[in-house]
């Protein structure tokens, strides 16, 4: 402000003191036409001079020729031309204006008024340039001064510096643009939670447009379980606190719930009173998912580590147990050797000592054998010497080994053996190892006076060997681990039962090598256990000794003369639900020159009949769902026995089964286990007889 303004000095240079105007605002230009005939204008010129000098707007008056007659202090300041230089000069000399954008000179509003006689209000794109180069953005307007005669006697030009306003407006625009272009949610709400603003980021992230949510309560965005958070946050805002990076969930318009991080701050009015809250939020769903994923991976890694540590502990426990198990018999042997070498002992002690050394050496050898077996199983180097085996012999041998221990302990062992259920294919020594391990375990874990039972029976196409005891049983939580190697229910050094923890692992591996399964059952601790080994029934008789090979042990799987090809070119369809059985028959038939198709079910068999067009069919009778009888009925509905002869292959060797098979449509019946020679002979004779070749 200049001294002129501050002192209230005004310089009215109007030649006609009666002429004046009341420009209340530059924008009010349309109302500025002054009618000096108005009754109200009776004040002396001095009054107007003072008034014009003290207002905040710049005022310049000219005569009808555009020559300056009056300049107020604000105008003097903005134009940058001293009052003394202004009077009597044409307006255009002191009032240089250009278009803000184009920088081209703008026609003076005074000239326009003089030309048109009408009030002019300029758009606020005008820049006033002072002689010293200082620029001021102005809003301006000009109004004609109309004399009593109705003639335009001059012009009043009113303008004001709007630079500040412009800057503020620009700043607001810029801030608004930032808010709008932000990817984050930027919104505001009242202290009651009513949304008052909503940017494009909020629209994008939450799916609602501003129109849909402004004026509504924020709860439309909040999943019910997070409503309490909203109240808590509003309470903090009321106390003037800021909530930083609060992680919560919000519900989108489409109902999906996303993770957001919110920063909520109080909004104050000019008096500093809190009137609402602003919130800036970010969608952190992806981030959170990534973090969850990372946590999950970390957890998995920790679990893997825990597993590895558990495996390590298992190994340590095992090594401790192993050393114990090896040292115990060693101790007995060395001690007795010492006694026997100290000097003459009585015959009884000598006897006892030698027996003890023998027993413990064998016991230790057993440990070494078990270790080697497990090692062979782990490395895949265990080979079975497969023969036809009668399990009754195997069980008898195992019992012979176990009985002394059972008798000593006072454990009763009972056998329930089906004499017809004994035939399996397998390695007799390994099968004996299975049975022995189960029996020895049963005796070991059964207290004095308890019972052990071994049961052998045929169950469908399997032979099941069960060993049950009335012993200590198995805790349900340990049941899944009984067959794990090195695993013992009680690995501590103070447990009551010795052993390496390998026996059942060996049983499982050996059973599986025989194509069987083993399972453990126990109602719980102290309630006994049952172990069931299920082995596939032998499908063909193996090791059938030929007269010239008597006494000669050979390990060939089948003792059958494969050199002849009696079935050369015969197409045989084999139907059996058991893969092993199919493969064995296939091998026998292929060796004899037959062309073989294998089907695992009646349906599959029917398909092969059309696609493979067999000369003869060999079918198992007992199959799940549809059995061999169903199959032959369907076959006979389409093909006569002459066209497609059929052999029933079944474990049911009773005469009524034979009759039933023949009645159903089979031409002959071969019982399992099948002699390869018999099967080949039967197939060959049927094909010959029916002439299907």
């Amino acid at each position: 402000m200049t001294d002129a303004v501050r002192s209230g000095r005004a310089h009215l240079m109007s030649k006609d003191p009666d002429v004046s105007a009341t420009p209340d605002s530059p924008r009010g230009g349309a109302e500025m036409r002054v009618d000096l005939s108005n009754e109200g204008f009776t004040e002396p010129p001095q009054y107007w001079r003072m008034a014009l000098a003290s207002i905040g707007d710049a005022v310049i008056a000219t005569d009808s020729a555009g020559v300056v007659t009056f300049v107020n202090p604000v105008a003097e300041l903005l134009c940058g031309v001293p009052l003394s230089d202004s009077a009597g000069r044409p307006l255009r000399e002191i009032f240089h204006i250009v278009n803000e954008k184009t920088r081209l000179p703008v026609e003076s509003p005074v000239d326009q008024v003089l030309a048109t006689g009408l009030t002019v209000a300029l758009a606020n794109q005008t820049v006033l340039i002072a002689p010293n180069g200082r620029e001021t953005v102005i809003d301006d307007s000009a109004a004609p001064i109309v004399g009593k005669d109705g003639q335009v006697s001059g012009v009043v030009l009113v303008f004001r510096d709007v630079s500040e306003k412009r800057r503020a407006a620009e700043m607001n625009e810029r801030l608004a643009a930032i808010v709008e272009s932000s990817d984050d949610i930027i919104a505001s709400k009242t202290l009651d939670g009513i949304l008052t603003s909503w940017n494009r980021g909020a629209e994008r992230i939450l799916g609602y447009t501003a129109a849909e949510v402004v004026g509504k309560h924020v709860s439309i965005l909040v999943p019910p379980e997070h409503m309490e958070d909203v109240d808590a946050i509003l309470n903090r805002i009321r106390r003037g606190e800021k909530v930083d990076h609060f992680q919560t969930k919000r519900r989108r318009k489409d109902g999906t719930v996303i993770d957001v991080s919110l920063t909520i701050s109080p909004i104050r009015n000019e008096e500093g009173e809190i009137i609402g809250a602003s919130k800036v939020g970010r969608d952190i769903t992806a981030e959170k998912n990534a973090r969850d994923e990372r946590d999950h991976l970390l957890e998995a890694a920790q679990m893997a580590r825990a597993d590895a540590e558990a495996a390590n502990r298992l190994k340590d426990d095992f090594l401790a147990t192993l050393s114990h198990e090896l040292r115990t018999p060693l101790n007995a042997m060395l001690g007795w050797a010492r006694i026997l070498s100290t000097g003459p002992v009585g015959p009884e002690d000598l006897q006892e000592g030698l027996a003890a050394i023998d027993r413990n050496a064998k016991f230790q050898a057993q440990i070494v054998d078990d270790l080697l077996d497990i090692s062979r199983v782990i490395t895949g180097n265990l080979r079975l010497d497969v023969q036809r085996v009668n399990l009754l012999d195997v069980i008898a041998a195992a019992l012979t080994t176990v009985m002394p221990a059972a008798n000593t302990k006072g454990v009763q062992v009972k056998k329930v053996l089906d004499p017809l259920a004994g035939q399996v294919s397998g390695d007799p020594a390994r099968l004996q190892q299975i049975v022995w391990n189960l029996l020895a375990n049963a005796v070991k874990f059964t207290p004095k006076g308890g019972r052990v039972q071994v049961l052998l029976e045929r169950v469908n196409s399997h032979i099941e060997l069960s060993v049950s005891d009335s012993g200590i049983g198995i805790k349900p939580e340990f049941l899944p681990h009984v067959f794990d190697r090195f695993r013992q229910a009680d690995p501590s050094t103070t447990r009551r039962h010795g052993g390496l923890g390998l026996g059942l692992a060996i049983v499982k591996q050996l059973t599986e090598l025989h194509g069987g399964t083993v399972r453990a059952k126990s109602p719980g601790e102290g309630q006994g256990s049952t172990f069931v080994v299920s082995l596939p029934i032998a499908i063909v008789h193996q090791d059938a000794p030929s007269p010239n090979k008597v006494g000669q042990r050979e390990h060939d799987e089948f003792k059958f003369d494969y050199s002849a090809t009696p079935l050369s070119g015969v197409k045989v369809l084999v139907v059996d639900d058991e893969a092993d059985a199919r493969q064995i028959i296939r091998r026998v038939l292929i060796e004899c020159g037959a062309d073989v198709a294998l089907a695992g079910s009646v349906e599959e068999g029917m398909k092969f009949i059309d696609s493979f067009r067999p000369d003869i069919m060999v079918s198992d009778v007992g199959m799940p769902d549809q059995d061999g009888y169903d199959l032959i009925r369907r076959v006979r509905a389409r093909f006569a026995a002459k066209t497609l002869p059929a052999v029933a292959l079944t474990a049911f060797a009773r005469s009524e089964d034979r009759r039933r098979a023949l009645l159903a449509g089979f031409q002959t019946h071969v019982s399992k286990p099948v002699e390869p020679a018999e099967l080949v002979a039967v197939v060959a004779s049927l094909v010959e007889r029916t002439g299907t070749r």
């Binding site: 114990h324 060693l330 101790n331 042997m333 006694i339 103070t494 447990r495």
Partner: protein, 143 residues
């Protein structure tokens, strides 16, 4: 107690030793060997049996395995230590485990196979202390 003490005093280095091991071969062997050394030996094959025998036999030292069919060796000691009259009895583990796996309640440990020279030395030392009446408490690790 005084009875047994006076007797061991007369017949050095004889100690009253109870061997507890469920392996009969081991127990019988220890019995014979210790008897040959002049000790008075009794055998037990289970924990409960051992506790009962201790009552009547009043051994100077109990050599026992960690694992017994009915209870652990440590449980046997725990039960006996509750009673004043067995406060000076030495309980020594004889087991196939390493020393770091022996519960601290044992007064000492011999790992199988037992080094009989070391066992004899240990028993002689024990007998000497016994004579001086300082066995039991303050007992030192034999190995």
């Amino acid at each position: 107690l005084n009875d047994s003490k006076s007797r061991t005093d007369e017949r050095l280095p004889g100690l009253r030793i109870l061997v507890v091991d469920d392996s009969k071969d081991t127990a019988r062997m220890m019995h014979l060997l210790l008897k040959l050394q002049g000790h008075e030996v009794k055998l037990a094959f289970a924990g409960r049996e051992a506790i009962e025998l201790v009552e009547s036999f009043r051994p100077d030292v109990v050599l026992l395995d960690l694992r017994l069919p009915d209870m652990s060796g440590a449980d046997v000691i725990q039960e006996l230590r509750k009673r004043q009259e067995f406060a000076t009895t030495a309980f020594v583990a004889v087991s196939g485990f390493d020393s770091d796996q022996i519960p601290p309640i044992f007064d000492g440990h011999f790992v199988k196979p037992v080094d009989h020279e070391a066992l004899n030395q240990f028993l002689s030392r024990l007998a000497s202390k016994q004579r001086l009446g300082i066995a039991g408490q303050g007992f030192t690790q034999p190995q």
